[in-house]
């Protein structure tokens, strides 16, 4: 991912979250984002196919 591509994506994501960062901060995000994206992508492993996410929700809470 080029810095330009990263900057475009980061701008869209920060805008969507309504975060107003400085130019210097934006550049840092754009530099680091490809690494973060690669780290996230590396979790999409074939061996995880049978796994459910480690989330839980108890519908009975609040009824006691």
């Amino acid at each position: 991912m080029s810095l330009d591509q990263s900057a475009t994506t980061v701008k869209a994501l920060l805008d969507a979250a309504q975060l107003k960062v400085s130019d210097e901060e934006f550049l840092k995000f754009a530099e680091v984002y490809p690494i973060m994206r690669a780290q996230a992508d590396a979790l999409y492993l074939p061996e995880l196919e049978p796994e459910s996410p480690a989330l839980s929700f108890d519908p009975t809470v609040g009824y006691e």
């Binding site: 980061v10 994501l13 920060l14 969507a16 979250a17 309504q18 975060l19 107003k20 960062v21 901060e25 840092k28 995000f29 680091v32 984002y33 690494i35 973060m36 994206r37 780290q39 996230a40 590396a42 979790l43 999409y44 492993l45 061996e47 995880l48 796994e51 459910s52 996410p53 480690a54 989330l55 809470v61």
Partner: protein, 468 residues
């Protein structure tokens, strides 16, 4: 007498009549007065309430009332944990200081009920994330072994206080390593507990599914004494576990004979960025355990680096959900090293978060498979000794190897134990990891090591001990 270094020694002196809680607490405040301007361990100190607690402890001793080994012991409480006698700031201009409602968090209430003396609120990285920002007006915690270096984070103040003798122990919190990192940097012992072992209600959240409250002190024994009081179910924390609380101190028999120690070599001992002095120091510590009768074998844990990244992704996402409204409205009120870390959560998708939680289940099973063969695992705690404060940047955890986050992802207990010094005189630390709720085992192994070494008892020259 010389000021006691450990809770265990102080508890003995308080019972033998060699020391009073009031004298011990007064000596701690004298040390704070002399040292804290340069060390930055405390956001606020509480001399009036602390001295009242100490005098109450002495009165109880005089009446023959003994509430256990924490009675009259001066402790520091990280400033993201609510207390009745001081505001909770999270070292942030964003948090309402009335947060927590002026009520002791359950873990603090337990310590007070056991007779402990709360000396003050210890500095923390803002909201338990990031690095100190000199522009925000909070003290900058400094490493007592080298003032230009980081004291670690986020439970920096408690770590500095323990290392410099400004408290005999205290509370930290650990979401990705925040008890163990300062313990490693400052050269003392720090335990990240099993998720749910200690109630975390009354603690400002960072990563809901990762947060834990842990003891920080010089020795494994002291951590055991603290944990025996801190641990146990509390209905106010939906994640609190009802698993029985062990007598942790009683489990420390000083022996490592027959303990099966796994040493996961790939990544934990060969990742680029691991300082050779750390690696050699930890392997030398493993040799000490072997010499003490432990059965040591190399092993392997798959996808350890991905587990670190999944932890940080989970932490960022959960922290972002808590902070987003304030990030939108009050971006510059957050410290310059905090806000990027919190905002990172906006850069992951909901699918990424769910996938990280799928990975989490898978990795938990992978580690359980390895721990079926071992009682504990040993790794470095941190990849380097303390580094310059100016190098404590938000992206550091993304770009460098990390050995603490995996155990938050899996919820396992892990203790940081001093194991030497670098050639530049900075502490080195090994990490001992165990099965869920096996705090007694990890502390037993740490204690066995500390019976044979005295790294945990070293005092930084800047904080040379005084008399009480």
């Amino acid at each position: 007498m010389t000021a006691p270094l450990t809770i265990a020694d102080a508890a003995k002196a308080l019972r033998s009549g060699d020391l009073t809680a009031a004298a011990l607490t007064a000596s701690i405040f004298e040390r704070i007065e002399a040292l804290d301007a340069k060390l930055g361990a405390y956001v606020c100190t509480l001399p009036e309430t602390a001295m009242a607690s100490a005098e109450a402890a002495d009165a109880d001793f005089a009446k023959g009332v003994d509430k256990g080994p924490l009675q009259g012991i001066p402790l520091a409480v990280k400033d993201i944990i609510s207390t009745e006698d001081a505001p909770t700031t999270a070292n942030s201009r964003v948090l309402d200081p009335a947060w927590g409602g002026g009520i002791d968090a359950p873990v603090v209430a337990r310590l007070r009920a056991a007779g402990a003396v709360v000396v003050g609120k210890a500095t923390t990285s803002e909201f338990a994330l990031g690095a100190p920002d000199p522009d925000k007006g909070f003290p900058i915690p400094r490493n007592p072994w080298a003032l230009e270096c980081t004291a670690g984070g986020s439970s920096s103040g408690t770590g500095v206080a323990v290392a410099a003798g400004l408290a005999l122990g205290g509370l930290g919190t650990d979401t990705g390593g925040s008890v163990r990192f300062p313990a490693a940097m400052n050269g003392h012992t720090g335990l990240k507990v099993t998720f749910g072992r200690v109630p975390k209600s009354g603690v400002v959240p960072l990563g809901y599914s990762l947060d834990s409250v842990g003891p920080m002190a010089r020795s494994a024994m002291d951590c055991a004494l603290l944990l025996s009081v801190m641990a146990g179910y509390d209905a106010s924390d939906p994640d609190a576990a009802s698993a029985p609380v062990d007598d942790y101190a009683a489990a420390l028999d000083g022996s490592a004979v027959g303990v099966r120690v796994g040493v996961p070599m790939p990544y934990f001992f060969d990742a680029p960025g691991l300082d050779p002095e750390v690696r050699d120091g930890v392997l030398a510590a493993v040799d000490v355990l072997r010499g003490a009768g432990a059965v040591v074998s190399d092993t392997e844990i798959g996808y350890a680096e991905q587990a670190k990244n999944a932890t940080m992704m989970t932490l960022s996402s959960e922290a972002f959900s808590y902070h987003r409204l304030n990030l939108v409205d009050r971006w510059t009120d957050y410290g310059k090293f905090t806000r990027p870390g919190l905002a990172r959560g906006a850069l992951f998708s909901a699918g990424d978060f769910a996938q990280a939680q799928r990975f989490r289940n898978w990795f938990r099973a992978e580690v359980a498979r390895v721990l079926a063969e071992f009682d504990v695992l040993v790794t470095p705690t941190w990849a380097t000794p303390a580094f310059l404060l100016s190098e404590m940047l938000p992206e550091r955890m993304i770009l460098t190897p990390g050995y603490t986050p995996q155990w938050n992802l899996t919820g396992l207990p892990a203790v940081a134990v001093p194991c030497g010094f670098s050639s530049s005189g900075l502490p080195l630390s090994m990490q001992i990891i165990g099965r869920p709720f096996a705090e007694a085992t990890v502390l037993k192994v740490a204690d066995a090591y500390q019976q044979l070494t005295d790294w945990h008892l070293q005092v930084p020259p800047v904080a040379a001990l005084t008399t009480v």
